[in-house]
């Protein structure tokens, strides 16, 4: 049967190349579609399209400033469907969020009138408008989750004071995750409701803790994101303290978990007082907090070094068991054998671990653990101008950081940048282990494991062409009920030969054991 070609020329229509390549690649996945292109209608591009069997009179008449969408498919219906999809994707980029036929309120007041009983507003507007919109929502009696960033500290203080005066939550700014009354907001996982209340200044921190709680059979009463800056001196822990008071008074919350980078000593003092006043058992995970900075004397307060320990300590407190942190879920000897078996496949000069992360807090946790077990680690978390390819030795990349997301989608949504990074590591003769995270849940890519698989394969092939084996270690931050399905994602990574660990912390430890040929084990044993 002859293939059918359909094309559409949009005059003086512009899109950047990444958007066009992504669009063409989405259309190519449709059933029956053999080839798809989205390119400017230059003469040179018309030749490329003709060589790919994409030739119609419309394409022939396109001008350099016109956008050409073209699809070749097994039959006319499939070609037409492909073209319709291309148009839909293009339109979606222009009217992001628009839903034909659905009611789209233009103001918060109209939204509240049309949805009486609503008690929370999720606000994502540019930083300069954020304060006005969030203040409006608070005055309407709504809790606020403020996704926007670039909100000045003064504005954040004013908003949080306004919220506290009205006994409302002001989550954010720059808050990407919350679980309120069992409802996941923004980037969050599907976890059961339960007795653990979480206050978190970190999005993926909250995700990791809530997922490990779910895996252990516990649930979350509320997961309150407070924004990454709340525990700074400038904001003085306003919303953290308010959230702790709220969870302290919430009868459904039996155990508290607090997640953040270490706050300033002054703010930390207020937080510890608030935890004591809550009169509920609590776990504090201030990633990187020195043991000497931890107050003693509060028997209901446990400190956790990792997100996993925070979740498991909360489980222990809830069930009344003593909590003893363990580096691995399996026996340490078993893991040692696994690591030695993997290390045996490496060549002598393969000694580096490269962490390529989508989750910022998971990257931060990896940086801390790897530094402790394997020695100095380069990272864009330490130096924002660190350029890809410049890092030597161990390195951890947070690809969700601003320097990588300007002009690109976040790596939790689109794996393009991660694939590029993965492939690059395959060309570096010093790399032993590539470490990464796969974050599931609402808001994340529909198949994150499948999305980065070509990067894993490219890295592996590049290394094998040069006579090296590359080891991939990962963890999945997600639950069986997440839209992507934990088991399906795990199967994809298993089939790709990725060593999967039950948590980010364990994955980092395994990577360190392999790359250091077990030397990290001595440090691990000493620490435990």
């Amino acid at each position: 049967m002859t293939a059918a070609v359909r094309a559409l020329v949009k005059q003086n229509f512009y899109q950047d190349s990444v958007a066009l390549m992504r669009l063409a690649s989405e259309v190519k996945k449709l059933p029956g579609v053999q080839e798809a292109a989205a390119m400017m209608g230059t003469a040179a591009n018309k030749i490329i399209m003709a060589e790919a069997g994409l030739e119609t009179p419309d394409i022939g008449s396109a001008q350099p400033n016109d956008l050409v969408l073209a699809v070749r498919a097994a039959d006319a219906a499939a070609a037409q469907a492909g073209l319709a999809k291309a148009e839909e994707l293009l339109a979606a980029r222009h009217t992001a969020g628009a839903t034909a036929g659905a009611f789209r309120p233009r103001t918060l007041e109209t939204a509240v009138k049309n949805l009486p009983g609503a008690n929370l507003a999720l606000i994502s507007v540019p930083g300069e408008y954020a304060e006005a919109e969030a203040a409006k929502a608070l005055r309407l009696g709504l809790h606020v989750l403020l996704f926007s960033d670039n909100v000045p500290a003064d504005a954040e203080r004013r908003l949080k004071d306004l919220a506290i005066s009205r006994d409302l939550l002001m989550m954010g700014p720059d808050c990407g995750t919350a679980l309120i009354g069992g409802v996941p907001l923004a980037f969050a996982n599907v976890v059961p409701r339960g007795a653990v209340g979480i206050v978190s200044a970190s999005g993926t921190g909250l995700q990791q803790v809530s997922c490990i709680l779910a895996a252990a059979g516990e649930g979350v009463s509320h997961g309150i994101g407070v924004g990454g800056r709340d525990l700074s001196e400038a904001i003085d822990g306003r919303m953290t303290l308010h959230a702790l008071r709220a969870l302290g008074a919430d009868p459904a919350t039996e155990v508290l978990v607090l997640i953040s980078k270490p706050p300033s000593p002054a703010v930390a003092g207020k937080v510890f007082q608030a935890l004591a006043a809550a009169k509920k058992p609590a776990v504090v995970c201030f990633l990187g907090l020195a043991a000497t900075d931890r107050p003693k004397g509060n028997k209901r307060l446990l400190f956790a070094d990792t997100l996993e320990d925070a979740a498991l300590a909360a489980v222990a407190l809830r069930r009344g068991f003593p909590f003893e942190p363990r580096p691995f879920a399996n026996d340490i000897e078993e893991v040692e054998v696994l690591a030695a078996g993997q290390a045996h496949r490496l060549r002598d000069h393969q000694i580096a671990v490269r962490g390529i992360f989508a989750g910022g807090t998971l990257a931060h946790e990896a940086l801390l653990i790897l530094g402790e077990l394997a020695g100095p680690v380069a990272s864009n978390l330490k130096r924002h101008d660190l350029t890809p390819g410049a890092a030597e030795g161990h390195a951890v990349w947070d690809l969700g950081a601003d320097e990588f997301t300007r002009g690109r989608p976040h790596p939790m949504i689109d794996g393009t940048l991660r694939r590029e990074f993965l492939k690059r590591e395959g060309n570096d003769p010093s790399v032993a282990v590539v470490l990464f995270d796969v974050v599931l849940g609402h808001g994340a890519h529909s198949d994150p494991a499948g999305d980065i698989l070509p990067g894993i394969e490219a890295a592996r092939s590049a290394a094998e062409r040069r006579g090296r084996r590359l080891i991939f270690v990962a963890s999945i931050c997600g639950t069986a009920k997440d839209p992507q399905g934990y088991l399906k994602q795990r199967e994809t990574l298993d089939e790709a030969g990725v060593l999967l660990m039950p948590s980010n912390a364990q994955a980092v430890r395994l990577a360190a054991l392999i790359a250091t040929r077990g030397a990290a084990m001595r440090r691990l044993r000493a620490a435990t």
Partner: protein, 298 residues
């Protein structure tokens, strides 16, 4: 209510275009989430964008992102008025103050580059491009990769271009450049970025042949009128004046100043991060120009 922005950095060429507009209104050429391209009489473009670092030689950086409700009203064709150190977009009630912006001047100055130095620089830039290993765009040209239709189409032209440049064969340069124009997806197709890198480097690094190469400029731009996008043509026009986008200009300056290998590699890595493939495609063009210079008869 008018929304006010203050530009933090403005390129000298952008200010020159605004001054030459003499108060005549321009229009929005294209608008993205972080970039708005403005077209002024004579098809001169000015690129208004977020962030602090300029991304185009005709750029103005606002220091922060500007995706706001007001900017939803900014669409191709909307009027832009330059006046008294400001840019006004009346239909969107947006005003950008430019008067206090730091002015970016291109750093790279024409300076002859010997064939040994050209060969050495080409090798350093190649190594950086290979490390990036981006399958899209034209960086694969330096490694003999032919994995994509784009590379297969571009390779013979790029090689012919290198040979013609080495021979200083102007008609050969024109003939080989033409099929590269407009080659690739997006608003600045890879082939054009490659040409900008190649021509910019050749002009900056071989002053004795400068007049000869400059003679190609108007002819290349005439070809570009019908073969590529307006934005790409604007980049090419600046490259033909020896002015590249700031990170690429910094790379060219580092190279012509005879900096050591680590400094050059650092500058190349920074240049490669521009856009999805634009920086890498331009650096690839620079490699081909350097290879031509390395093999050119003295």
């Amino acid at each position: 209510m008018t929304l006010h922005f203050t530009a933090v950095t403005a390129s000298r060429p952008a200010l020159h275009i605004l001054r030459n507009a003499g108060g005549h209104a321009g229009e929005i050429h294209s608008a993205y989430r972080r970039t708005i391209n403005l077209r002024f009489p004579g098809d001169h473009l000015v690129c208004l964008h977020g962030g602090r670092d300029l991304v185009a030689p005709f750029g103005i950086a606002l220091g922060r992102d500007f995706d706001s409700p007001a900017f939803e009203r900014i669409a191709p064709g909307v009027r832009v008025v330059p006046a008294d150190g400001t840019l006004r977009i009346p239909e969107a009630a947006v005003e950008v103050a430019i008067g206090r912006a730091a002015v970016w001047e291109p750093e790279a100055r024409p300076r002859p580059l010997g064939s040994d130095a050209a060969a050495r620089h080409a090798e350093i830039l190649e190594a950086v491009l290979l490390q990036h290993d981006n399958p899209d765009g034209l960086a694969g040209l330096v490694d003999g990769a032919d994995a994509t239709p784009l590379l297969r189409r571009a390779r013979p032209c790029a090689e012919r271009l290198q040979q013609a440049l080495a021979r200083r064969d102007i008609s050969g340069v024109l003939a080989a450049a033409e099929p590269l124009m407009g080659l690739g997806p997006g608003l600045t197709p890879s082939g054009d970025d490659f040409l900008a890198g190649l021509m910019g480097t050749a002009l900056l690094a071989e002053p004795p042949a400068g007049p000869l190469l400059r003679a190609v400029g108007p002819q290349l731009l005439r070809l570009a009128e019908t073969r590529t996008t307006l934005l790409s043509r604007a980049f090419l026009a600046h490259a033909l004046e020896g002015v590249l986008a700031p990170p690429l200009d910094a790379l060219a300056a580092t190279m012509l100043d005879g900096a050591d290998r680590p400094a050059l590699a650092r500058a190349a890595r920074a240049a490669c991060t521009l856009g999805h493939t634009s920086g890498m495609d331009t650096v690839t063009g620079m490699v081909f120009a350097l290879r031509a210079l390395a093999q050119a008869a003295p």
